[in-house]
Subunit: 129 residues, 2 copies
DNA sequence: AGGCTTATTGAGAACGATTGTCAATAACTG
DNA sequence: CAGTTATTGACAATCGTTCTCAATAAGCCT
């Protein structure tokens, strides 16, 4: 389990940048297409690996889409949740200590430890009515 | 769009029953294996179709697992959420009007309509510590 | 700058969950 | 019971993701 030394590569930076430009949550395949269209020769597997790394580093938030795809979004590092437009993907970050506390309380009330949670809100944004 | 007439089949009943026996959330493949082990000759595709039907009818709750699998559980028909043990899958149904209201308010505060949400709590249950 | 070590890349194969195809079967109707 | 057609089951096909592995290039040390 000797931790391996991470290297900074031009590819990982490209993924980070493309993710930052994206509007809402995007898939690895979408990002790969965008990068290709911009002239990059980056491989699809590399995009998958870079996104997984960014998510582990807290630089990206992962989201299981309704149809089983794994989507990512560039995010602030503090814990938060998302309000997502079903039509255009526009996303608002949500913070609510009350709900965080509620989730942990529910867990401990039932004798569950090491609580974590998944909370996402969906809707149609004002521009997409 | 002529709605087609649903038929009651022995296979769908078998899936419904097997789902009821299951401990927590289970996958179509798991149910298929269980049914096979009990002597059934049901096809895998049929299990997938039956579960999708049950979910649409509100008789089962779907859950996207962390690793992209679609899991199901026999549930009450009223709206609720789940507290799930990461180790053994034991599941507790949670109802909390406060949180329901909060989610809808967050949506409307940001101009989002037709709100819906995904809320799941995970932890390690007392038996699995 | 030059050379060494090894993490990272990219192309393609492999994988696993899910869905589509289609002839055979079996629910319902009357 | 006979006719209509929704449903079944075996298999192929799809799709997102991961694996494999030889080639490349970061980081490090002269
Ligand atoms: Zn929108
Ligand atoms: Zn939270
Ligand atoms: Zn448990
Ligand atoms: Zn709810």
């Amino acid at each position: 389990m000797a931790d391996l030394k991470r290297r900074n590569t031009r590819q990982k930076d490209a993924v980070r940048h493309a993710l930052g430009e994206a509007i809402g949550f995007v898939s690895a395949q979408q990002l790969h297409l965008v990068l290709k269209n911009h002239g990059s020769t980056i491989g699809l597997a590399t995009v998958y690996r870079a996104l997984a790394d960014l998510a582990e580093a807290g630089e990206a938030d992962p989201l299981q889409s309704k149809d089983g795809e794994l989507l990512y979004r560039a995010c602030t590092t503090s814990h938060h949740h998302h309000l997502i437009c079903r039509a255009c993907g526009k996303t608002v970050e949500i913070e609510a200590d009350r709900v965080e506390k509620w989730a942990d309380e529910v867990a401990s009330e039932h004798g569950f430890t090491q609580p974590s949670h998944t909370i996402d809100i969906f809707g149609t944004c004002s521009a997409c009515q």
